[in-house]
Symmetry: C2
Subunit: 349 residues, 2 copies
């Protein structure tokens, strides 16, 4: 059992604390403390809206036993904020494992690497991958169903949709496995590759490597990144999409998102994405969209329900808000696709 202290020192707003919020939500049993000198004495729920009574401490010295320090917010540019150094050094002196998703490599820092060596502490820079596998579409296990999350933009709930579907399938005693492709997903599951930091030639290969590494399971739920039309990040999305050779896609959609994140470029209608995702995958191997995960965080329950209903009608696949409605219908769609493929014809890969 891992016990995690989450460093969230001075995060400006909830959107910057996405990693911390997801860790509290999906590793609630493991997160024992938050560290933020500006909010010491408060509880997780009061500042993040999740996490109940998990206490916030001013420093690691005040924190009860924890064996792992995770950096729980994403500072602008991915650089190490100067005021995090004290806490990271303290963790290494205690021999704790430090897990970072920063662009800056902690292991390259002389002070950190020396402390880690002295105190047998481990540093995991999960935003750095040396993957040099080239995708060949060889060795894929035909009995493993591969489901992949795609979206109309970054940060619309692709990871959450897949984790919620995984939970439902596990409740049904299915051997389903979420496969992480980004830093938060890796912190939640303890494995994966942050594909956005792989060298361009090997993005497709990194996705294939993840499939090869996990395909002993019956069902893989492969996290998506970005958007196939993202002006900034479509390279990552396209490489993932082809590299993981999906049988089915969950299309993720945030109500009210009109421009691609961090840009002034308008997002096309969902129909454009629906058709494009299906054609760009199924031109190489059989694949279709099996459901829509609607993120209604910026709309009322009533409005969200109306949108889900309209999307279900328009696209003829289940459209649900996994937080409000649960992921049962999407899990049903996964199992239905599995039946379609594998009871009729095993010769699909």
């Amino acid at each position: 059992m891992t016990s995690i202290a989450l460093l969230i020192e001075g995060f400006p707003d909830k959107s910057a604390a996405k990693t911390a919020i997801s860790l509290i939500r999906y590793r609630s049993a493991d997160v024992v403390a938050l560290i933020d000198s500006t909010r010491a004495g408060l509880h997780a729920n009061e500042v993040l809206g999740v996490g109940g009574n998990v206490p916030i401490y001013a420093s690691l010295d005040d924190t009860p036993v924890a064996d792992t320090l995770m950096l729980g917010t994403a500072p602008s540019g991915g650089r190490l904020p100067a005021n995090w150094r004290t806490c990271i050094c303290a963790a290494l002196r205690r021999g704790m494992t430090v897990i970072s998703g920063l662009h800056d490599r902690l292991a390259d820092d002389p002070e950190f690497s020396q402390l880690a060596q002295q105190h047998q502490a481990e540093i995991h820079d999960i935003r750095h991958s040396k993957c040099t596998h080239l995708a060949t579409r060889k060795g894929l296990r035909p009995e493993c169903l591969r489901i992949h999350a795609v979206g109309h933009d970054c940060n619309v709930g692709k990871m959450v949709a897949m984790l919620e579907i995984e939970a439902v399938l596990k409740q049904r005693q299915r051997d389903a496995q979420f496969v992480a492709t980004g830093q938060t997903g890796i912190m939640i599951t303890g494995s994966g590759i942050a594909v956005d930091c792989v060298v361009a030639d090997f993005v497709n290969g990194a996705a294939e490597q993840l499939v090869l590494d996990h395909q002993e399971h019956e069902i893989l739920l492969i996290e998506g990144q970005g958007s196939i039309l993202s002006p900034m990040y479509s390279a990552v999305t396209c490489g993932l999409l082809h590299g993981c050779v999906p049988h089915g896609l969950i299309l993720c959609y945030q109500v009210g998102r009109t421009k691609f994140r961090h840009t002034h470029t308008p997002i096309p209608p969902l129909r454009v994405f629906y058709d494009l995702y299906e054609s760009i995958t199924s031109s190489l191997s059989p694949c279709k969209i099996i459901g829509i995960a609607v993120n209604g965080r910026d709309c009322s329950t009533q409005e969200g329900a109306a949108i889900c209903s309209a999307l279900t009608h328009e696209f003829q696949v289940p459209a649900v808000d996994v937080y409000r409605d649960g992921a049962e219908k999407l899990a049903d769609a996964v199992e239905q696709l599995e039946n379609e493929y594998f009871s009729m014809d095993k010769n699909v890969c």
Copy 2:
């Protein structure tokens, strides 16, 4: 004026000497010698099929004055062959500039870096880019027409098509500029970014950076890479496609290519690519395919002509083999697109 010695030591076949062949073809005035101890005494034309009487020497010692050594073949895996070391060291001792497109960084090699320092020689590892620009679609000059080459696979003639169109446009006194996105193109033009070695998050940004760096010209002819359906490399293709924000595309097609290079995956019909390239670009900004560059190296002149005619008929855009027919019709299509966009409406970017 640069005088280039091209190292082609022991290349196994012509497809491995693609860089050398293109350099001889497009920098014929600059290439003064080839170096290959296994073929000394022969001439370029005898072993590469191009380059006329350019002599092949056994070593750099036998070679007359040259100020630049370029590594002209791509060994499998991009690693430095052991038998190239002597020649590279000799070049550095002469104070020559050494230009390498290998994955191995020559500048990281202690022997090479020490020699370079001692003899004021320069090492350019062009397959390594530190580009960290994120694409924002801001600052694009509306008066610059951006044409991009795409294809159904790698290595089907995208670079050649753009270089031939550039030559025709320059003959017409147009301010057209080829923009290199791969190692051979960079060696030919002396600038560019090898986008396949950029970190995934910055592929779109690297393409945008190239546009920003060159958009003082009237017409940019931006080299393409891979294929939007390449199982191995689609990440690179997609990032380039969105990052360079093209107004028009030249679709490159090699007759007889049935499987994606280095894979067993069948290549879909050209119609699939045609529709996909148009939809994935025009969903963000106006863009269309304006011509097809047919590579007929594996078919007869007669067969090639029949295929060009059939493609022209099917897609209603000019389809030509630029080697056999010249690039005039494709250059016409570029100028016609320019007229369509800019005489009617300058407010397109």
